[in-house]
């Protein structure tokens, strides 16, 4: 990076703390710390939500209203794809929805978004992959594997690549969108003189963090549901 500009913009992942386990070097990176902060935030909101909903009133207050609206929205989103099976998957979909949404929006808190690290999004993609294949084996048995030879056995390699490319493509999509946002923000804050850093980045944050982050969260959950629905 130093060769590009002297005033070094900061959008890389940094190691904070090194520790050793099983004879290997591991790093606590900015991604890890961002994920801790996001997790604590979600936990706090979850505890507050639990406390509110235990004393739910007929006429909802502000917080209860927001929670009910969020859940209704999530359930409606699931029902457009999964239909009657929404109840079985809404736990998982809701969990990754909240996690990805808060990770994407954590750029607003000045963190480096944890989802702009391929280690995080690849794991999310693998979760989707395992759920899809578990559902396929559970519901179709051997048919899950013989369906790769449909309609003709000649198409087996293409079908196989198509199956294996799914987790790769959804994880890369989320990663690259967030990474481009992080890079644009990092370049803007790092390269330009101080007077353009007042006010103007708000518009960039609105696009890169809010708009892009929300759309990508929606797309990730939507595609996960589409892949799962194919195997039901």
């Amino acid at each position: 990076m130093g060769m590009l500009i002297s005033n070094e913009p900061d959008f890389m992942i940094h190691g904070v703390l090194k520790y050793q386990m099983f004879g290997q070097d591991f790093w606590i990176t900015t991604t890890t710390i961002g994920m801790w902060i996001v997790t604590v935030l979600i936990l706090v909101i979850a505890v507050l939500a639990n406390r509110t909903l235990k004393k739910a009133t007929d006429v909802p207050g502000t917080f209860q209203n927001a929670l009910e609206y969020a859940y209704t929205m999530l359930e409606k989103m699931g029902e457009t794809i999964l239909g009657g099976n929404t109840r079985r998957f809404i736990n998982y979909i809701g969990t990754i929805f909240l996690f990805i949404l808060f990770c994407n929006l954590s750029g607003l808190l000045g963190l480096r978004a944890p989802t702009a690290d391929y280690g995080v999004t690849f794991l999310l993609g693998m979760f989707t992959f395992f759920i899809v294949n578990y559902q396929g084996i559970k519901n179709h048995g051997v048919g899950h594997f013989t369906s790769l030879f449909q309609p003709t056995p000649v198409l087996f390699p293409i079908n196989l690549i198509g199956e294996l490319a799914n987790p790769l493509s959804i994880s890369l999509r989320l990663f690259a969108n967030l990474l481009s946002g992080v890079i644009i923000m990092g370049l803007w804050y790092g390269m330009l003189p101080i007077f353009v850093n007042i006010g103007i980045p708000a518009a960039l944050h609105a696009y890169c963090d809010l708009f892009s982050g929300c759309i990508q969260t929606y797309v990730f959950c939507m595609l996960t549901m589409v892949y799962v629905n194919d195997k039901l």
Binding site: M1, M3, M12, S169, L172, R173, F175, A176, N177, L179, S180, I183, I215, Q216, Y218, V219, M222, L223
Partner: protein
């Protein structure tokens, strides 16, 4: 060419390759524009279904964006991970 080591030459070529990889951005731009145009005409024909049309359009656009993002990933790997030359 005096004073340019092989390492510098490789980095320069990587930067050119990163720029070429971003030509991939043309495709999603055209595709998203077509999707947005058809979305606009669909809303013109059926204004009642605007919210559904918008969400379908955004989902399709986000999926169509993927190929451009692959180009971006290749460009970033060339620039920062530096796979060629130690």
């Amino acid at each position: 060419m005096n004073g340019i080591s092989g390492q510098d030459f490789i980095f320069g070529c990587s930067a050119i390759g990163a720029g070429l990889a971003m030509i991939a951005g043309i495709g999603p731009g055209v595709g998203q524009g077509i999707a947005a145009g058809h979305g606009a005409s669909a809303v013109g024909r059926n204004p009642g279904a605007q919210s559904q049309i918008t969400s379908t359009m955004l989902l399709g656009q986000a999926v169509a964006e993927t190929t451009g993002l692959y180009g971006l990933v290749v460009a970033i790997i060339l620039m920062f991970v530096k796979p060629f030359g130690a």
